[in-house]
Symmetry: C2
């Protein structure tokens, strides 16, 4: 079940870097099955850069999978700016002034503050049995453990994510003349930059073993070029460039 | 001792992909100390993408280092196109027609054929005690072992190098409008692309441990940003973009 929930019912959501806020911040939240009356069986899943709750829900959650929905209430919260949650490309109504290049800088701390508030105010959850995330979700997992140590019983960071890498991805967008300082008409204007983005993702977003063992073949991509062209490139080029920059 | 040597005294150097050749191919060769009369103590060092014989000579060669010059005659041969050997940016005289964007496609096989011919014709070396190289030098090391198995007693490939990665580096150059299809006036015209090239190199050309252990500090770079700005960026931006494309 996916719905959009306001972490803050009482007004705009203030951001760590200050100077601005999100007038109407809404987070896309997927939940699986049931919170106990004592509200003591919650697991939070954070999302990775360019990813959503979807893969986690499809792959990690199940009676025989890593996260058992018969025992736990599992909440996946999409990051601010990812396009399911409030983002530059869906900024309208009270957020209209944040459209295109005007979306404020959002930090991992903002995501985690919003998540904590949402869990507390909307679900009444005071303690999490587990916070788990991969890649940029790891940054949120660590941030939870540091910022709210009393609320996190276990933390499971899967892999990691780093700043220098993300900069190289951003630069593919910035360097495309079609990006135009964020004032493009459509993601298609930034096709070249997003395609290069996909290629770097291909090198760094996958393990050496993925390529060595030719895992792409089991996904019906006969060659590494086919995996790039028919999987990774379409995956990047459908995305909104400014949303990607917000997430990064 | 560094000198330029022709692998082929008898005319133009033909290339695997055919259709063209290098009229006057010269390889920059650094040798350390002495070949025995029997010519049976030679080690070949191949070079990596954007690198030259220099670091290998400075770091790997010495009585207490990996390669002992008191026992071995060590030959470092720079790849075709690297700028010390014949390359687009030094193409003049008989090679004038190969200047700027007109340098032909050179393959690892071409490098290895040229090296074998040079060692045989110029030095009279029939057998190598060792072929050793890192990164793109590994590709040459493997190529030697496959193409001339009888001539290679030992092969030491250090790390590896891959095609998808190199493509992302090339794309930084191609995507810079200043590159202009290879017809730029100076590498400064491609400053933006070469700077992005440096950033990707920073992420992928170094190990996780390099960044985790903050090795840059021991080299007097206080932050990772300083290492990027004062070491990696100048290292890429002084290079000739077409030379880098030839090597890749």
């Amino acid at each position: 079940m996916l719905r959009r929930v306001r972490p803050d019912q009482h007004g705009p959501f203030d951001l760590e870097e200050g100077g601005c806020c999100i007038p109407d911040c809404q987070l896309a939240v997927a939940t699986v099955v049931e919170l106990t009356e004592a509200k003591d069986n919650a697991i939070l899943v954070t999302t990775w850069y360019s990813g959503t709750h979807q893969i986690f829900r499809d792959i990690y959650i199940g009676p025989d999978h890593a996260l058992n929905p018969n025992r736990y209430f599992i909440v996946c919260i999409n990051q601010i700016g990812d396009g399911l949650s409030t983002a530059t490309h869906n900024a309208d109504g009270p957020n209209a002034e944040l459209a295109t290049s005007k979306f404020p800088k959002v930090r991992i701390g903002d995501d985690v503050v919003a998540q904590e508030r949402l869990l507390r105010e909307h679900f009444g959850i005071a303690t999490l049995q587990l916070v788990v995330g991969a890649s940029m979700g790891v940054q949120q997992t660590y941030e939870w453990a540091v910022r709210f140590p009393d609320k996190v019983r276990c933390a499971a960071p899967i892999t990691s994510h780093d700043f220098l890498y993300t900069e190289t991805l951003n630069e593919q967008i910035w360097s495309d003349p079609g990006w135009n300082g964020g004032e493009y008409k459509s993601n298609v204007d930034v096709l070249d930059g997003l395609t290069r983005h996909a290629h770097i993702w291909g090198v760094l977003g996958f393990s050496t073993e993925f390529w060595e063992q030719e895992v792409g073949r089991s996904l019906e991509f006969e060659t590494k070029e086919a995996f790039l062209e028919r999987f990774l490139e379409p995956d990047s080029t459908v995305m909104d460039p400014n949303d990607l920059l917000t997430l990064a």
